[in-house]
């Protein structure tokens, strides 16, 4: 059987069972079968991938290639700068933009030996939870192509689930890795804020954005994360010290681990019954495996969503100011510079981006600054304090990743609030800067994947992955989206 995980491929490659070119061909063959339906990629660099794979095989044959990801095809969310490869952030305003430099995470991924398959689709500037906000058309969920893959890293999730990459990097500002991982039946991790350099990541909300892995297994996620994390002199917010190895506690099980179940993480009534049942079943299974289940409370968490929707738009209103048609990207001429700028922005930005830029500009305006942005920062401080208190009594916190499984395309596009609430469980970790991971634990009655979230304190990746790996083992979930090579994806047979 052909390998489908990062580590599986790495082992097969080193054992001589496959070549890197074969791995690349496998990915490209899958893409030729499913991309027309899934649309995970904005740029699929077939030629570059095959050439890099051939070089990787040569290097391995001549005794080189010691990187942990040597020869493995990995996909990149299209909001990471790739030298010479179009980088759009899913926006019309950046169509045709080719960065002159690689993001630090991309540099490190390549240094670890990984091969870049291409750039995956996303909600424009990572703003969204369904990948429907991409200026280049939506991505569909490989489990059911009538449904969204989640977002904003929906393209990265769909690529891995559909087998068109062995793993992928996404970015997570309010759940943008974990929620699509949950909806696509994958593992998706957002590391501690500052663990992975943001240099070259096109900013949405700088104080919340983190790059992280989307993979089939917890082990893959830990390996991929350790390949790209670490201090970066180009990012003043990167964590300056040594990071613990993410795979440092794998295989240790749950015996004695204190697992906090959050009772008030933002209104549990919105959780679908199947998601809730699956979650409770897993908590009970964890207890049977030796975990000590404790009640935990984050009293400020119900305010997290509102705080997030002030802080993230405020930061994005400034971050997106640079897209003005002057130096790069789309330019629509006008009689004056101001007119050129405002026409370029009006033409280049989609409605969700415009909505958030307006919200953020308003939240920072004189007279409203304190009531909105100031209050939101206070909530953020309270949430950090709540987490600190909660972690006095437990090692990890758990919750569902998303209140629902994958929803139909178009279902929530008319009502932004209904889209926003899909991040209600994931946002608190971003506000606190803590790591969190989503692990698939089962299917709902419509055979759509359900995700289970494990949260840990800052730099707690080892214990987080330890718990996540135990959950993964308990769930025994097959992460490969079901497909028939002759007929494409199940949901695609319409």
């Amino acid at each position: 059987m052909a390998p489908f995980t990062v580590m599986g491929a790495a082992r097969a490659l080193r054992g001589g069972a496959v070549t890197s070119v074969q791995l690349a061909e496998q990915v490209l063959k899958r893409a030729s079968m499913v991309e027309a339906q899934v649309h995970a990629y904005l740029t699929l660099d077939s030629d570059g991938l095959l050439q890099a794979a051939a070089e990787a095989d040569e290097a391995l044959a001549s005794g080189g290639g010691r990187g942990p990801l040597h020869g493995i095809p990995i996909a990149l969310k299209d909001n990471m700068a790739t030298r010479g490869m179009e980088t759009t952030a899913g926006s019309k305003i950046l169509a045709g933009y080719h960065p002159p430099y690689d993001a630090t995470a991309v540099v490190r991924l390549r240094r670890a030996g990984a091969l870049v398959t291409g750039k995956t689709n996303l909600d424009e500037f990572a703003m969204g939870s369904s990948t429907e906000n991409s200026a280049f058309g939506p991505t569909r969920n490989p489990w059911n192509t009538d449904r969204v893959p989640g977002g904003s890293s929906g393209g990265s999730a769909a690529a891995v689930a559909a087998g068109t990459a062995f793993g992928a990097l996404g970015s997570d500002t309010g759940g943008s890795i974990r929620q699509p991982a949950s909806l696509c039946g994958l593992v998706g991790a957002k590391p501690t804020y500052g663990a992975v350099s943001r240099y070259g990541l096109i900013a949405f909300a700088s104080s919340l954005d983190q790059i992280g892995p989307l993979t089939h297994t917890v082990e893959d996620a830990a390996v991929l994360l350790d390949a790209v994390n670490g201090p970066d002199p180009l990012d003043a917010t990167s964590y300056p010290g040594d990071l613990p190895r993410s795979d440092g506690r794998l295989g240790r099980g749950l015996e004695g681990m204190r697992v906090g179940v959050v009772s008030d993480l933002g209104g549990l009534e919105a959780v679908e019954p199947d998601v809730d049942a699956s979650f409770r079943k897993m908590v009970a299974a964890m207890e049977r495996e030796g975990a000590r289940i404790v009640d935990a409370s984050l009293p400020a968490a119900p305010h997290a969503l509102s705080a997030y929707y002030l802080i993230a738009p405020a930061e994005c209103s400034a971050n997106l100011a640079r897209f003005d048609g002057v130096r790069y990207g789309l330019r629509v001429d006008g009689a004056t510079t101001e007119e050129m700028m405002s026409r370029s922005r009006a033409e280049g930005f989609g409605p969700e981006v415009v909505r958030r830029v307006l919200m953020g500009t308003f939240a920072l305006s004189a007279g409203y600054h304190e009531a909105f942005y100031g209050q939101a920062q206070k909530v953020r401080t309270l949430i950090r304090r709540d987490f600190a208190r909660a972690y006095e009594g437990c090692d990890v916190l758990v919750s569902p990743t998303s209140p629902t499984t994958a929803f139909p395309l178009g279902d929530r596009t008319e009502d932004p609030m209904s889209m926003y609430v899909s991040d209600v469980f994931t946002i608190p970790s971003n506000l606190a800067g803590h790591p969190a991971v989503s692990v698939p634990i089962g299917l709902d009655r419509r055979e759509l994947p359900i995700g289970f979230q494990v949260m840990a304190p800052a730099l707690g990746e080892p214990v987080m992955f330890q718990a996540a790996e135990a959950v993964e083992a308990l769930a025994g979930f097959d992460t490969r989206a079901p497909y028939d090579p002759g007929f494409g994806l199940r949901g695609g047979v319409r």
């Binding site: 430099y101 240099y199 900013a203 930061e315 130096r327 790069y328 305006s365």
Partner: protein, 482 residues
Amino acid sequence: MSWEAVIGLETHVELSTRSKMFCGCPARFDAPPNTNVCPVCLGLPGALPVPNREAINRIIRIGLALNCSVTGRSVFHRKNYFYADLPKNYQISQFDLPVCVDGYLDVGGDHPGRVGIERVHQEEDTGKSTHMGGDGRISAAEYSLLDFNRSGVPLVEIVTRPDIRSAAQARAYAQELRLLVEALGVSDARLEEGSIRFDANVSVRPGPEAPLGTKVEIKNMNSFRSLERAVAFEIGRQTACLDGGERIVMETRHWDEEAGVTRGGRTKEGSSDYRYFPDPDLVPLELDQDWKDEMAALLPELPARRRSRYEGMGIDPAQAATLAGADVHLRGLFEGAVEAGARPQQAGNWVSGEVVAALRSSGRESLADSPLSGPNLARLLAMVEDSTLSGLAAREVLAGVLAGEGTPEEVASARDLLQISDAGVLEAAVEEVTADHTEEFARLCSGEQKLIGFFVGQVMRRTRGKADPKLAGRLIRERAGL
């Protein structure tokens, strides 16, 4: 009605650090356009700023020199506004937590006073627009060229309290500040190249107890003179307005150097809501005591202190101010000469008078690498004191030393300028001139004193200017029996 002017100045000082404020590009903008640029200072998507430690070092020194308290924790904010030469469409600046607050600068001279410093904060410079076609203004331009070499060059903004009361005092403050910045060695401090730029806030009120009037910001002053003229004009304009029963409009006005007037902006300034918020790409600066102490230890002697040290040497205040404001080479020459035994006042007069004049006529820019040393100047002055050289001859010797002809003694003897102070040699000359002018000598002998000068002149002529005129006068008197 009499009005009191209330003036505050905002000064931008461009730091002469090797690299820019938030990236590694050279902080030089005289290179071909858009060559000292990178993803960070071009504001490319994904690029992030990292603060330049040397720039922080320098702002701390500026703050300490301005008697400010340096805050323990300082934060960079984003100042949001759209402008084509501002690559990110926000400027990284500081808002409520600047690096330095609450200082002062004492201004001496004709307009003494203490000017309070409200804050000193760090920010980055913008790029440069050149408007092509039309009259060079943006409104009439066909297109504009943008050069981002200057984008991200470190700037320090120094904001005074509204403590200045006249245009002349504004100028005195500005000059004192430039001297200070120059002494600190943190900036090229050249006004004409824009490495120091002044904006003034001017208002007038009926008297010192009255509340502050509506303030007007004036920009575009490129010299101390234009700063003084602009402020004076604006004070006059505002008082005339008020006397005429009009109201002052809060606005930004631009100084028109040629017309000698300030003009209201024709372009709409837009809202001044910059929506400041802490830049999430940067972490707060933690300025601990060790860092501040390290910078305090690096402070050089500052102009005010130097002036009082010079005055303490017995130099008059005007001369002390001139010398203290002179460049490092001239000051070195002065201090070296005094150390080698020259009288301070005499050395000061020579350095700021004869030496500067000699430099100018020799076409040299400064004394850097000049053969004229402190000890050389001291010897030259000693030769004047003991009458080995006349004042006139000493100037010639100075030129020779500057031209590299040798020590003052060598130049004087090579050019045959040593004064004749040998009574025996002069006696002969006196004898000759009295013999040549018997009629005049008889009148002198009979008491016509004013003829002494005539005979001294004759002796000087006969000795080609080398005679010691005092000695010659004495010998002539003796010979006439006076």
